[in-house]
Amino acid sequence: MYLIGFLICFPLIMALLLYLIKNDHVRKYFVYAACGVIIAASVLFAVRQIIGGANGTYLRNTHLIDLLMSGVELVLFGVIVYYSIRYRKYYVVFIAAVQEFLLLWMEFFGPEIAHPTAHIYSDRLTLIMCLIIGIVGCLICIYATGYMKDYHNHHKDFKNRKPFFFSMLFVFLGAMYGLVCSNNLTWIYFFWEITSLCSFLLIGYNKTEEAIKNSFRALWMNLLGGLAFAIAIVYCRLVYQIDGLQELVLMGAKGVLVIIPVILLAFAGLTKSAQLPFSGWLLGAMVAPTPTSALLHSATMVKAGVYLLLRLSPALAGNLAGTMVTSIGGFTFFATSLLAIAQTDGKKVLAYSTVSNLGLITACAGVGIHEAVWAGILLMIFHAVSKSLMFLSVGAVENCTGSRNIEDMHGLIVKLPKLAFVMIVGIAGMFLAPFGMLISKWAALKAFVDSKSILMVVFLVYGSASTLFYWTKWLGKIIAVVHNSEKKKDITKRSEWTSLLSQAVIMIILCVTFPIISAHLIEPLLSEMFHDTIPVIISKGNVFIMAMMLCMIAILPIVARLLTHTRRQKVVLSYMGGANTGDDRNFVNSFEQETKMYLAGWYMEDYFGEKRLWRPSLIGATAALVILMIIAIGGAV
């Protein structure tokens, strides 16, 4: 219990401290120390939880803390109002005001609940989330110490607000811990709003026009979700006399009609996890410095959305709310993976891929059967690590080469071999066979077939084909070995390397140990969630085969050595009709002049570009969302 309290409060205290420290050097050590403590506390928490076994419920009566929260919430509201008026975005004030009013009214004049729920609840999902937030989140913070220095060297025109930046990162971590440990809906909502506000402030860090625009987009979309959340809380308290998430899910799983709050919460989850039609905010979040994007995309923010959906999933099984969540998720997976094909900006590809993967997790949560949730949780774990790894390595490459365009990463394996290697691990983890994501995709496919949702199957098979396209294209760019290219100076800082390498190692360890994670964490969790014994999801034989594939990749260098062992090997130029001029980079053109060769990847703007696909996907998703919500809520009323 005290550990949970520590996990929530410590980052917040650190945030305050970091805000006050103005010296770069001192701040750096503070960040290291804080991250070390948080990681250690998260791991300790996980170990104690696993050994102790039992789930914990704490804090039944918390009047004082509730009052404090209401106070903080008012302050948050004040901040939103201040920024909205300053930048003349009055609609934001409106949305925020409505939910603030609802919540305060409920707090002070709402009906007393006969059996107040435990405010803090922790089970294995909490534990998994804590590990993700703690380890991945802190590694991103460590990375940020080195990155921000170079960032401000590159961008002299932005105001240096590093103290603010780091304190926001830690507020974010604290809020996430609060979110995943809470059970009381009002508490979850409180932390939910903090993360929305934090992401707003972090996205707008540069204060450029674009940054402000995108940060407000993030704010209003997330506040809309928050509004749905607030209505759900009010509805639960008034109609069902409950205020806990677990209780709500339990009622839903037992077949009691709780579809209205469930669908409202699911809506909130969809906005936060940036599903279509709300994907715009996450794509816009790229304007912020890389650690922000990494944090939003991997360990925090969007994970809060899918966390809520996964928690809700027993209550989503087989009803219209579930259908809504699954359809939106599946469609998002498909549409955004097509959109990612046409992107040349590395961070934008990553952003689309995040939305796409979250779509898959969302779809899994919506199906609501144990196989699907198993896949969803594994996807979430693997995605957090590999996506953060990808973002951070793109950021490092950008600092070294001045560009994050995929086309400029041509031949990275020669120019920046170490970073290229880390990137290859990240990409392989995102979609290749024996590695993490694919296993979960496999289970998801099985779950969709078992739940007879053929539409989902279609989305998944087409979506994974296009996913394959954009990742392989990127991989091919990195791996091109260009003659006579000079090694670039790798200015990646030690802190950045620590973060990148630890994540690459974690990625590989996860790939090797996923059966253990599944057996000790996810399967017991599922049997609690569904009150059922869980059948074997991936058989021993198949795990063995996957292990064999991993081994084969590991021993590949040796085998390759044996298979191509010939003494008569000769290195020649690549074939360009015999017209190379001494290396693979130039050729003689028809005017007898030397021309530089340029190999471009296929982006096919005309077929998969945003101009062509974005609007139809928005319209389609909005229509599906609105229609399904109306049917579901109308049917329930």
Binding site: I413, L445, V461, G476, I545, M552, L563, T564
Partner: protein, 288 residues
Amino acid sequence: MWIRIVWTILFLILGPFAGGLLAGIDRKITARLQGRRGPSVWQPFYDLLKLFRKQAVIVNSIQDFLICGFFIFIVFTGALFFWGGDLLLVFFSLTLAGIFFMMSACSANSPFSAMGAQRELMQTMAYEPMVLLAAIGFYVCNGSFAVSDIAQAHLPAVLYLPGVFLGFLYILTIKFRKSPFDISTSHHAHQEMVKGITTELSGPILALVELAHWYENVFLLGVIALFFVASSWWTWILAVVMCIVCYFFEILIDNTFARVKWQEMLKTAWSVTLVAGAVNIMIVILIL
């Protein structure tokens, strides 16, 4: 258990022979269709042995390494299939092998092989949905992804999955690298992209690629056979006959169609997948 091991070993040993012989017959039939005498049916073996004896000229050493990955994973894919393993895992391993192949072409940094690799990638994107749907189709019919279970069904799967079978036959043209979909590399003298994805490979390394393609072709015909086999003995004969018929059909298509652009390939392959494959599976889910 023993039978499974025997099947795997048979594949590993006889696979290249069958694949090479098929390639030889293919060349003979193609020649005859064009009014030529054509080479001996053993010609592919002569080619392979020659390639193994030649010097290897390489652009860089990463290339060989990746080609070895391609070869090993293709063999693994086939072996896993004939062992009776999980069909989805088999197809994932096939994709992994394909990625190794494309990466090898990309690493060469040569205009023709890079173009070939991009086109190959497009081909992969075009056929991947149908391949996965075929696996799902088998699962829907038999309740299992294991090849060993599917081969023991009461009735041949094709009775439930005629659409999936046709869809698979359609993308098989892409997988066999036959015209109209031989856009990444070709056995014919399409010289606007030289040899596409294999341009920068030579000697023993090219021989490995050829060998891998033979294994792959045998494996793909195995998937075709899987549509026809069931528990009764005569279905096995039917399966063999159908494999031969399908192979001949692909040769015929190869010789009667001109190459198409990638747009055509992607559109038609995805539409066929949706119309034949997905609709078929939907119907099966509804009636079973």
